[in-house]
């Protein structure tokens, strides 16, 4: 692993989230949000050094070498629609966040996770674990080879369905740019019904969670292509000339 990566362009100004971007909670029909979400008002704290900083060499702790989820080993190809998932991690000034740790996890093509908590009666794929971790390059790019995940029902009293989605966890250059989010697929009618996606009040913010499908020729034979850019919090106090 290259340890001589140039330092990322560091944001030094952090503004509160604009209205409509953060999920409105608790969520009707999602019982855990009613028992886990803090009920007392959150206390806005100043950005001191602990909040502005974060671990810059995390790839030494978290190996960032797992980008191919679709091929577990020779002859072991995951079931489902093969998919190439790529994009850029940017800050609010549109600058690439290089060296960010990007973690991705998802259900298999039948909508089941390889996780002991997921005991749903849907098939596991012996050739699909469904998680990967990479580090963004100098242009802030990440890329994974995987499969398109399936939809699945949420096991609550009044069952609702999660549309196909991919989970992202991004560890950027400061604690304030830490982001956990999910990505959806364009054109899926289930997106309109998803309680989690629709907890984001601003329609434009919801649209920004939906990936763009690229022409197959851009990816190559055999893979569907999707691109999805993700914007982390943080700006530069003094814009670069």
């Amino acid at each position: 692993m290259d340890t001589n990566f140039p330092p990322p362009p560091l944001p030094d100004r952090f503004e509160p989230f604009p209205p409509g971007i953060e999920p409105a909670v608790p969520i009707e029909g999602y019982p855990n949000t009613w028992t886990h979400t803090p009920a007392q008002p959150l206390i806005r704290r100043p950005v001191t050094r602990t909040e502005a900083t974060g671990p810059l060499e995390l790839w030494r702790k978290l190996p960032c070498d797992e980008s191919n989820l679709a091929v577990l080993g020779p002859g072991r190809i995951a079931q489902g629609q093969l998919m190439h998932m790529s994009g850029r991690i940017l800050d609010e000034d549109g600058r690439p966040v290089r060296g960010a740790v990007v973690e991705l996890w998802q259900a298999n093509a039948a909508g089941r996770y390889y996780h002991p908590i997921d005991q749903r009666d849907a098939p596991l794929d012996p050739d699909f674990v469904g998680n990967g971790r990479v580090r963004t390059d100098e242009e802030g790019r990440y890329a994974f080879f995987t499969i398109k995940p399936g939809a699945y029902p949420v096991p609550v009293k009044d069952t609702w369905w999660r549309p196909p989605h991919v989970h992202f966890s991004i560890l950027g250059p400061s604690s304030l740019s830490r982001l956990v989010t999910q990505m959806y697929f364009p054109g899926d009618p289930m997106n309109e019904w998803d309680r989690i996606l629709n907890s984001i009040p601003d329609p434009a913010a919801r649209r920004r969670l939906i990936a763009r499908q690229t022409h197959p020729a851009e990816v190559g034979d055999g893979w569907l292509g999707f691109t999805h850019d993700i914007v982390l919090r943080g700006r530069r106090a003094t814009p670069e000339a």
Binding site: D12, T33, W34, P38, D118
Partner: protein, 200 residues
């Protein structure tokens, strides 16, 4: 310069992969699993339980910790004292809670530092993520060793006075020859019960 709106947060959900965790992820004193722990400072254990409304344990919650080194410095360019930061200390760790809601971090007793907002008492920032938490829950651990510094901390002072004690860790004897501090996190309850949480 263009301005892009930040991407919305979502819950980490119940299925954050166990396979993402490796030995020593909850150990802030080592840069990576194969590294020696830092020789500076006092190593301590931070333990606690995460509970939800009604006091029931939250299993499978993901916690991340971030803190300064034993001298109150960060190995980060935003710290003017970065060249003096402990090069063998990572300051970051991740843990998940067991069936009883329990977690543990091995770390250093952090140092305090001077900040434009005021002198920060030694503290550890904790992030809690999990099913049902659409936004990360952010809290801060203070230590009973530093009552005077705690009383002047610009963040602790934002917490209503009766609730401040909830984010000061409690000494709980020793284990493995290290001092143990307990820090329980109650995600949702009335003002007497709930852990104070912050937004940045």
């Amino acid at each position: 310069m263009s301005h892009l709106a930040p991407t919305s947060q979502h819950t980490i959900g119940p299925f954050f992969p166990r396979t993402f965790f490796t030995e020593g992820d909850n150990d802030l004193t080592r840069l990576h699993a194969g590294a020696q722990p830092t020789a500076r400072g006092e190593t301590v254990l931070l333990r606690g339980r995460v509970t939800k409304e009604g006091g029931f344990p939250c299993l499978n919650m993901i916690l991340e910790a971030w803190q300064a080194d034993a001298s109150g410095r960060f190995n980060h360019p935003a710290d003017p004292a970065q060249p003096l930061a402990d090069p063998a200390f990572l300051g970051w760790g991740r843990a998940w809670t067991d069936a009883e809601g329990g977690y543990e971090f091995r770390t250093l007793l952090p140092g305090g530092y001077d900040d434009p907002a005021g002198r920060r008492a030694p503290h550890i920032n904790l992030t809690v993520m999990g099913a049902g938490l659409m936004r990360r829950a952010l809290t801060t651990v203070f230590f009973p060793d530093f009552a005077g510094e705690n009383a002047a901390d610009p963040v602790l002072n934002l917490v209503p006075e009766p609730r401040r004690g909830k984010i000061v860790a409690v000494p709980e004897g020793e284990a493995e020859g290290l001092r143990v501090f307990r820090f329980d996190i109650h995600l949702r309850g009335n003002a007497e019960e709930e852990t104070p949480f912050f937004e940045d």
